[in-house]
């Protein structure tokens, strides 16, 4: 074991990863701003849905632009490796803060970005091909501990494997859901569009997608299959970019998969960039290796142990809850369950109080269309919204308001049915990690993960 931690590798792959990730994140922030989503998602809403235990995180109103600017700036500095430690910490904190404001904006790939930025704080990605190393030669190293690059590879492998495992269920494999619903909506694409009218194509895509996720880590790790695997990475992610509205994620994954290539590939790439910048002679090649100081070393071991343990356990926490995961969504987020459901619902809320006052809620008066859409299918958000209503009407002078919901949810082609017990007063229910007994059962078994 100790021998492994003493192994060294070139710093080039980590440097390339840093540059690619930083630039893509910078571009993402610009894109987000250009599409007006900062205002639409963080300033327009009257209410937000914070994560459990993080209710203190709230949108700073117009100042959210400052946080986005900070995030974008730190992404850029991160990319070029200027004041790397501060940039990487700021990038992680600002990005994660933004994502923690509202559950409605949760996306698995934002979670991925947060986690990878967290890891990068602790890795020596700035010792090579960075402004920091350029300005201060004592910071420049061509060699770093191998585990630093392996940590990234391990994380990526875990994500793919869990994403693949998440697809091993009867919905995805036996019913080709939800691709069977989504693919026909793209049947007007040139060349391949008409294929999507056939159900067997949905089955092929489902099975290939699952096999891709489960096999790609091994194919990328294995030198003999690497080039072929990377071709697969490009094809797979470009296809998802064409078929689904998932933003920058495909490109981030295509760039991330580069980390599996040997150091030579990365060194050549950096040499090319260096010559374009006219700085070829500045590249360092030596056997000097970046070393962590002893205190850092032990802290790092603890940190990464906890980190990977967390990553391995989180996707399985759903086993602690009864009922169908896709229906109750208890333990669904933060587990790399990507694009597994076509789930849509409508939630009609009613508030009444002891004095006989009564209101049927028009959700549009409280929530944005996106928030309403997300809330209507996720019980924890339904509960949060119920509390928003309870508190709103309390403030209006209603006496001990009760909140009930008449919900109707369709999932993966099933006819809609109620998700929540319409007789439970949600105003009295409290959120916790325990199972929510007022979620009605699906009464339909989904086998697998």
């Amino acid at each position: 074991m100790k021998k492994y931690f003493q192994k060294s590798t070139s710093a080039a792959p980590l440097a390339v990863f840093r540059i690619a990730l930083g630039l893509l994140l910078f571009a993402s922030i610009i894109r987000f701003w250009a599409k007006g989503w900062i205002h639409q998602l963080y300033i327009e809403p009257k209410y937000f849905f914070p994560f459990f235990g993080f209710e203190f995180v709230t949108s700073p109103g117009d100042y959210i632009y400052f946080f986005f600017a900070l995030c974008g700036l730190s992404a850029f500095l991160f990319a070029i490796g200027f004041f790397y430690r501060i940039a990487s910490i700021t990038l992680f904190l600002s990005f994660t803060f933004i994502e923690m404001i509202d559950k409605s904006t949760y996306l698995n790939h934002y979670y991925f970005v947060s986690m990878v930025c967290l890891i990068m704080i602790f890795l020596p990605a700035h010792v090579y091909f960075s402004v920091d190393a350029y300005r201060n030669r004592s910071l420049a190293f061509e060699k770093i501990p191998q585990w630093c690059v392996d940590a990234i590879k391990l994380f990526v492998c875990l994500i793919y494997l869990f994403a693949g495992l998440a697809k091993v269920n009867s919905e995805w494999l036996l019913n080709a859901q939800p691709l069977r619903i989504w693919l026909p909506s793209k049947n007007d694409l040139p060349l391949i569009g008409s294929l999507f009218n056939y159900v067997w194509v949905a089955y092929v895509f489902s099975w290939l997608g699952c096999l891709y996720d489960l096999s790609i880590p091994f194919l990328l790790l294995n030198r003999a299959t690497r080039i072929f695997a990377y071709g697969g990475v490009i094809i797979f992610h470009v296809l998802t970019a064409i078929l689904f509205p998932i933003g920058m994620f495909p490109y981030i994954m295509i760039a991330t998969a580069l980390v599996f290539f040997s150091p030579d590939v990365h060194t050549k790439l950096l040499k090319k960039i260096a010559s374009l910048l006219g700085k070829s002679n500045q590249l360092v090649f030596s056997d000097n290796r970046y070393e962590y100081n002893p205190i850092s070393k032990s802290l790092l071991v603890s940190f990464f142990s906890v980190f990977f343990l967390f990553q391995i356990l989180m996707p399985f926490r759903y086993l602690a809850y009864p009922g169908e995961l896709f229906w109750t969504e208890e333990g669904y987020r933060f587990s790399w369950r990507v694009m597994l459901m076509e789930k849509y619902g409508q939630a009609q809320f009613m508030v009444k109080d002891k004095d006989g006052k009564y209101a049927a809620i028009d959700n549009r008066e409280f929530l944005t269309p996106l928030q309403e859409k997300m809330m209507a299918t996720q019980p924890d958000m339904i509960l949060q919204y119920a509390h928003i209503l309870r508190d709103h009407y309390s403030a209006l002078g209603w006496v001990a308001p009760e909140v009930y919901v008449d919900s109707y949810v369709a999932m993966n082609g099933r006819l809609g049915k109620p998700l929540i017990d319409p007789l439970t007063d949600l105003a009295k229910e409290e959120d916790s990690f325990r199972h929510k007994p007022w979620i009605l059962p699906l009464n339909n078994e989904i086998k697998g993960f």
């Binding site: 989504w182 009218n197 009609q348 049927a360």
Partner: protein, 380 residues
């Protein structure tokens, strides 16, 4: 050797799973792939339903305009009766285009100017006294269109003689006639704008947009269709007057029925609107009555159904439409009276319409992969 045995059994397992899924135990009979051709649906909608509907309405509106002219030129008992008859005919025909609030109608917010009720009587009177009154602003919605005409020709006196006096002998008679002209000509102008676009370049733009994303034709149509059913038929024509909010019954507002002043046509108006909604779902051509590519054929092509019973979603939707029609038939033609004598019958209609709203807004849109939101952002 053990490994080989294990490998064989895993392979066998995989093959069995693959073959059994290919057997497709839940596959319906093979469907015609053309049923998922959205362009065909858009073409059928544009050429065989939407444009002919507008053409029919246009001619009824023109007739109403002509009778309005006759009346305002010379208000007599005869011209009043003829004007009213043409108004009724146009109002009924309007019910067949009211749901098309997308494209040009959406841009001109046609429905807001044609049929927002109850009429704002004080506002109408104020506008009569102010010839420069602005009919473009939201505050003016209830002061124009069919509801305003309803008040003007049916509600300005206890009988036709009194109504006539309002337009002949009363001091403000001339101003009132001028307002009738103003309201009618505005309706004609607005409709003409919409019809011109449909008969012009818009039709091709409409059928070319074959995606399902925000802003696509089918996305816009389905969103408008569902919204219309939920908010304008279910709530507007039935729920609000019956005092139903959410799923509970509160205080009814019988004066908020459609065509409150004419009083005896609320039922026929909602029947016409409802039938138009049904016919649109089934792709029924206006001229000829044959069914073409439609929401129904699209849903059937997707195999959308209730997995527990095997019933097609389109069948569930049509059956529910039929149930609602039966319930509406049980109502009096005078909703104002219906609400005051037996509101429960209105509530029954509403409850059934609510079931239909859920089929359309949740089951249908989910099966078609259409989003009912106006937010475009990344989804995971």
């Amino acid at each position: 050797m053990v490994l080989l045995e294990k490998g064989k059994s895993i392979l066998t397992f995989i093959l069995v799973v693959v073959l059994s899924s290919c057997g497709g135990s839940d596959e319906p009979t093979p469907v015609d792939d053309d049923s998922k051709d959205r362009e065909a649906i858009l073409v059928h909608w544009a050429d065989n339903i939407i444009k002919p509907s507008y053409a029919n309405f246009n001619s009824k509106l023109e007739m109403m305009g002509s009778k309005a002219d006759d009346f305002t030129d010379s208000p007599t008992n005869t011209s009043l009766i003829e004007f009213r008859s043409a108004w009724l005919s146009a109002y009924t025909e309007w019910q067949k285009v009211e749901m098309f609030e997308f494209g040009p109608a959406d841009r001109y917010t046609l429905r807001n100017f044609f049929n927002i009720y109850p009429a704002d009587v004080n506002g109408i009177i104020a506008n009569i006294n102010d010839p420069a009154a602005n009919l473009e602003v939201p505050a003016s919605y209830a002061r124009q269109g069919f509801p305003a005409l309803d008040y003007l020709i049916n509600g300005t006196g206890i009988d036709d003689a009194a109504i006539l006096a309002y337009y002949t002998t009363d001091t403000d008679a001339a101003k009132r006639l001028a307002y009738v002209d103003k309201v009618v000509s505005r309706m004609e102008t607005l409709l003409s704008n919409v019809v011109t676009e449909w008969n012009g370049a818009y039709r091709d733009t409409f059928v070319a947009s074959t995606g399902l994303d925000i802003g696509s034709s089918m996305g816009a149509v389905v969103n408008a269709y569902v919204l219309y059913y939920e908010r304008y038929i279910r709530s507007g024509k039935i729920g609000i007057p019956a005092g139903i909010i959410g799923t509970m019954v509160g205080t009814p507002y019988p004066e908020k029925v459609e065509a409150y002043y004419k009083r005896d046509i609320s039922k026929s108006l909602v029947k016409t609107a409802h039938q138009a909604v049904i016919d649109f779902f089934n792709g029924k051509s206006i001229n000829g009555g044959t069914e073409g590519p439609s929401l129904k054929s699209y849903l059937d092509g997707l195999g959308a159904k209730d997995a527990t019973t095997g019933t097609l979603l389109s069948t569930l939707i049509n059956n529910q439409f039929s149930t609602i029609n039966d319930k509406v038939d049980e109502l009096s033609s005078d909703f104002y009276n219906q609400i005051q004598t037996n509101n429960q019958a209105m509530v029954d209609v509403y409850t059934n319409m609510q079931t239909e709203v859920r089929y359309l807004k949740v089951d249908m849109t989910s099966a078609m992969s259409i989003t009912i939101t106006y937010t475009d952002n990344d989804g995971d």
